[in-house]
């Protein structure tokens, strides 16, 4: 029997709790939710309990289809697959042209490898902030301009500290992203779900 749950407008983790309850008596459920985090949480719940899951992007909301055997075990700690964080929203802060501290040459190589890996991943940061010597990565002479172009193409916004460009005399040498300021840097950090700082 197919059951539909309208979980639009409900705060996390309510959509998951209602769905989990319904999974005891149904073998096919369609859940309507209005945010990506809920879609991801429902997908994890389904997979965890051995159900198949797919979702469709309707106009303004998502329809998550789940199929499987009614779940007989009561909800427990094993169901802790829910993440109510902003999920997916993360930014990357490049405060140096080296990754980690220690040997500078090693740090430079690691940073190149890091940025290449970031550019190769499916999920890219919503923003990448460059400050202090990190701005060198976005300026002429950088070996990662091609990776930064890929990141921009995939949707990352590149914000480069203007004061820092000026300090390193790179203002006219910017090759990726746009010049930004302390206000934008602070706002970006405040609004980020997660900050990755290599």
């Amino acid at each position: 029997m197919k059951t539909e749950i309208d979980a639009r407008g409900l705060a996390c983790p309510e959509p998951v709790i209602r769905t989990r309850e319904q999974m005891k008596s149904s073998d096919e459920i369609e859940v309507l939710v209005d945010n990506k985090t809920a879609v991801e949480n429902l997908a994890r719940l389904a997979v965890h309990l051995g159900w198949s899951v797919s979702n469709e992007d309707e106009k303004g909301y998502f329809r998550v289809r789940m199929k499987g055997k009614p779940v007989t075990v009561p909800a427990g700690a094993g169901d802790a697959v829910v993440s109510c964080g902003p999920g997916g929203s993360f930014i990357t802060v490049l405060s140096s042209d080296e990754m980690g501290s220690g040997n500078s040459e090693l740090g430079a190589i690691l940073m190149k490898a890091f940025i290449h890996t970031l550019a190769s991943s499916d999920e890219v940061p919503s923003k990448i902030l460059f400050y202090n010597s990190g701005v060198r990565l976005a300026a002429k002479g950088s070996d990662v301009i091609d990776d930064l172009a890929v990141l921009e193409q995939k949707g990352s916004e590149l914000l480069v500290c203007g004061t820092c460009l000026n300090f390193y005399r790179l203002t006219d040498e910017l090759k990726a992203g746009k010049v930004s300021n302390m206000f934008d840097i602070l706002e970006s950090m405040k609004n980020a779900g997660n900050i990755i700082r290599p």
Binding site: K112, H116, D143, D146
Partner: protein, 57 residues
């Protein structure tokens, strides 16, 4: 790092990338380059750098 310096000095187009996971799961880095440069790179690095292996991607 030495190899990178040599290639940079010679102006050979290359890129430092992490070693692809299917080759090794170590936290290694490697140098990616165009197939056409293989002879130039092999001769530039021979005797200078201990090259683990050349692998096509």
């Amino acid at each position: 790092m030495k190899a990178e310096k040599i290639l940079k000095t010679r102006g050979v187009v290359h890129k430092i990338i992490p070693v692809p996971k299917e080759i090794s799961s170590d936290c290694g880095v490697c140098i990616r380059f165009e197939k056409d440069s293989v002879d130039e790179i092999t001769s530039a690095l021979s005797g200078q750098v201990d090259v683990r292996q050349y692998r096509p991607l």
